[in-house]
């Protein structure tokens, strides 16, 4: 046997770290590819015994890249535990923070992480395919703009949430701090700039990707396509909502397969365990676990930007809606199964987030002082679901009558995509790695299959030297290192 193994071990974030193993058969073709997550921290266990209202200050440490998502998923779960609703003003403030977060997180990903593949080009030398290459292509001024808009959006979160890593303001029935008129006006300017900036990012996407047939062909190519179900939050009109709404899921043809209120998630989602990874693999309960397979009968679903757009009937804001229509017109209608379209969907969502910020801040009632409803009911059990930038995020707490946690269950955004990411990697690897030949370019092509999920690898820190760090070791069946490829 001449089995070969390729290990892609970037030792980088995926709800912790991630590692890819690719096995080659005796012809040197890819037999199997697996994404392993070699980390677990045990939040579900050590939540036990904590006062439930402290969870919004504990769970953000699951992920410092999207702490705002964990903060508000927990805050909403705590609302539910106490059966209390936030005041209208508090709800507006929460939504403002949340949209600012969505905006900065999404645009950062486009320019610094996913974008280089397109802006600089998938075939460009690795040395250029990074933030410096992006700067070279779009100009230093724009790179400065990206840094500035990120900082300004994050300053909104800093002001209202205390710390952007990690916010502290969520309390059952409201928020701890309100907004004054001076800051409303200041943040409104940031919001307006954000709309312009999101439109500008979409323009770059249009110029660089859509006007380039070669790129469009890559987006639509078979190696970057897996056929799955999709899940996301929708508002009462079935439009994309990041903060709240029913959870809806659609099948591989875009037909509604289910829709549920937050407390009912256990009727719809289950998590499969494999002995080779610390991460679990969620699937649709209705269909049952069928393994890592795509196609019409699959029980695998995807979450995050493209999944949200595939799940919804449209966007919640007018400018984003225009781009939504254009995307489906270009890519042949919903659902779109082309994984690289996540990048496009992400920018459309950034625009919705920015428009929503403007809408919220133009409403003068956001400065009302009424920011808390004090809970009056006995705490019991609650589920909070929110759309993290990386997808559906579920926090579920059960407490005693003092509100001390007895049980916690957390299904984190990237976990929903864990099976799909593995499948996407395998498909791309099978297409690009043939006859044992592995080149730097082929590796990037493989890597491009998982970067669209922004699987928390997408820590802003990739920004600096740029590319996803990779090293590939190819071993023969005796475990001897025969070839090493490196890039960065």
């Amino acid at each position: 046997m001449t089995e070969k193994r390729i290990t892609i071990d970037p030792i980088t974030r995926l709800e912790g770290h991630g590692k890819i193993e690719i096995f080659l058969d005796d012809k040197g073709d890819v037999e199997r590819a697996l994404l392993q997550v070699p980390e677990l921290r045990g939040f579900e266990q050590f939540a036990v015994g904590r006062p439930v209202e402290e969870m919004p200050r504990i769970t953000p440490r699951i992920c410092g890249v999207c702490p705002t998502a964990h903060h508000f998923a927990s805050t909403k779960a705590v609302d539910a535990v106490f059966n209390v609703q936030p005041t209208p003003t508090a709800l507006k403030i929460r939504r403002l923070i949340y949209n600012a977060f969505m905006m900065e997180d999404h645009t950062l990903h486009f320019f610094f992480l996913g974008g280089p593949d397109f802006i600089v080009g998938p075939q460009a030398p690795a040395a250029d395919r990074n933030i410096l290459g992006v700067i070279g292509k779009v100009g230093l001024e724009i790179a400065g703009k990206v840094i500035k808009i990120r900082r300004e959006c994050r300053d909104i979160i800093n002001y209202l949430g205390g710390k952007v890593v990690h916010p502290v303001c969520g309390l059952p029935g409201g928020v701890s701090k309100g907004l004054d008129e001076e800051h409303r006006l200041e943040f409104l300017e940031v919001a307006k700039t954000s709309v312009d900036f999101a439109q500008f990012a979409l323009k770059i996407f249009d110029d660089v990707v859509l006007q380039n047939k070669e790129y469009v062909d890559v987006v639509l190519s078979e190696p970057y396509k897996i056929v799955t179900n999709y899940m996301g939050l929708v508002d009462v009109n079935n439009r994309v909502d990041f903060y709240d709404g029913d959870v809806r899921y659609v099948d591989t043809n875009g037909k509604e397969l289910g829709r549920f209120k937050h407390p009912d998630y256990l009727d719809h989602i289950a998590e499969h365990v494999e002995p080779w990874s610390y991460i679990k693999f969620p699937f649709l309960k209705k269909i049952g676990w069928k393994g890592f397979v795509d196609g019409e009968d699959t029980s695998i679903y995807r979450v995050a930007p493209l999944a949200r757009l595939n799940t919804a009937d449209g966007m919640a804001t007018p400018q984003a809606q225009e781009h939504y229509e254009k995307m489906y017109e270009t890519l042949g209608g919903s659902p779109v199964h082309n994984t690289l379209a996540f990048h496009w969907a992400r920018l459309i969502e950034a625009l919705q987030a920015a428009e929503a910020m403007v809408e919220l801040l133009e409403d003068k009632s956001i400065v009302d002082p009424d920011i808390r409803n004090i809970p009056t009911e006995t705490p019991n059990e609650g589920v909070g679901i929110i759309e993290a930038p990386r997808g559906v995020l579920i926090h579920h707490f059960k407490t005693d009558d003092r509100g001390i946690i007895e049980e916690a269950n957390l299904i984190v955004a990237t976990i929903h995509n864990s099976a799909a990411i593995t499948m996407s990697i395998e498909k791309a690897a099978k297409a690009f790695i043939k006859g044992g030949k592995v080149s730097e370019g082929l590796l990037n092509m493989t890597e491009m299959a998982f970067r669209p999920y922004d699987p928390c690898h997408a820590c802003g820190t990739h920004a600096l030297p740029g590319d996803m760090p990779l090293i590939v070791n190819i071993y023969d069946h005796k475990g001897e290192l025969t070839q090493q490829l490196r890039r960065g």
Partner: protein
């Protein structure tokens, strides 16, 4: 490349990535930092691997910034290696400084954590009782490995020698910049220093003037139970605030958002155990001398371990719950 530039490494252990975000949040300043140093290892950002570090000469890295607690075999191996290769090691952030929030897992052990994650969580569908294995052989003989998961979470200096500590969850921008400047200018304080002023948060807190000499409270309130006064000392409102037992330097970020301190900066130099310090400080300001009364009030604190040791359990005198006591 300028050979004079100090070589710097970054590594993360059991952490959330927030410390890495804190570095990126230097925003416009980050380019200056990058210019001044030569980053030789940063797994999240650079293509260097463990064996590249192994190949470096001992003590050839000027500074390693390590964030996250140590909870996996892989993390221990990596920090031991970095220690050998580095002249200075900085514990960056609350998790490496004190164990941090992942350290709350020391109330449990590997078995209870795995049991929850892979068996008893209500969404888990695991009829065959599968548990992730350190080594697993697939049907066709292929072997996959995972790092070992320890029963106990460790702060960094419980595993390797640490030279300096940057406190906070996450460390604030000004302290990071100050630390980097101190390194570049050779103005570091004596070894072992926590790089933030050595006084309590109350000393710097704007609300300090509303903090009474004696607290006339009869029970402790939880933040959701009352309308929080945005100007009054939290303790005076009957709300647990870790300020008296916590080092200052954070910029009172949580308090600015009208929420009490949870102690992420850890204690001052004079104190080893943050929880014990809080309890004694708290008891001393209660407006009663009756031990019984004090006990009664303290009993209204519903989760003392989770409040007082939120960020410092692995570092505390307790360190962890006795293994035999974990059910």
């Amino acid at each position: 490349m300028n050979v004079q530039k100090p070589k710097v490494a970054f590594y993360w252990c059991a952490s959330c990535g927030g410390c890495e975000e804190a570095v990126v949040d230097l925003a416009e300043d980050i380019l200056k930092v990058v210019e001044a140093v030569d980053i030789v290892f940063w797994p999240v950002a650079l293509d260097f691997k463990k064996k590249d570090v192994e190949a470096m000469e001992d003590s050839s890295i000027a500074v390693s910034f390590i964030n996250g607690a140590v909870r996996l075999s892989e993390q221990r191996e990596m920090v031991e290696l970095l220690r050998k290769k580095s002249r200075l090691v900085f514990a960056f952030g609350a998790c490496s400084h004190l164990g941090g929030i992942p350290g709350l897992a020391n109330f449990w052990n590997k078995e209870t954590i795995f049991n929850r994650a892979y068996h008893t969580t209500p969404s888990t569908d695991n009829p065959d009782g599968i548990v992730p294995q350190e080594e697993h052989t697939l049907d066709d003989g292929k072997i996959l490995t995972l790092p070992k998961f320890f029963d106990t979470v460790y702060a960094l200096d419980q595993v390797i020698d640490v030279d300096y500590y940057l406190p906070g969850c996450c460390p604030p921008k000004d302290l990071i910049v100050n630390a980097i400047m101190a390194i570049l200018e050779g103005k570091l304080p004596p070894k072992g220093a926590v790089l933030s002023p050595n006084k309590s948060l109350c000393d710097d807190c704007k609300r300090n003037e509303t903090k009474p000499e004696k607290l006339a409270i009869t029970e402790v309130k939880r933040p959701w139970e009352v309308m929080l006064d945005p100007e009054k000392c939290f303790l005076a409102q009957g709300i647990i605030c870790m300020g008296p037992a916590t080092r200052t330097g954070c910029g009172e970020r949580c308090i600015e958002a009208n929420m009490p301190c949870r102690g992420c900066f850890g204690p001052t130099d004079q104190v080893y155990d943050q929880g014990a310090k809080f309890l004694s400080a708290f008891a001393s300001i209660l407006d009663t001398n009756s031990e019984k009364e004090i006990e009664k009030i303290v009993d209204t604190i519903i989760d003392p371990a989770g409040y007082f040791y939120r960020f410092s359990l692995p570092y505390s005198i307790l360190r962890r719950r006795r293994m035999e006591a974990v059910k």
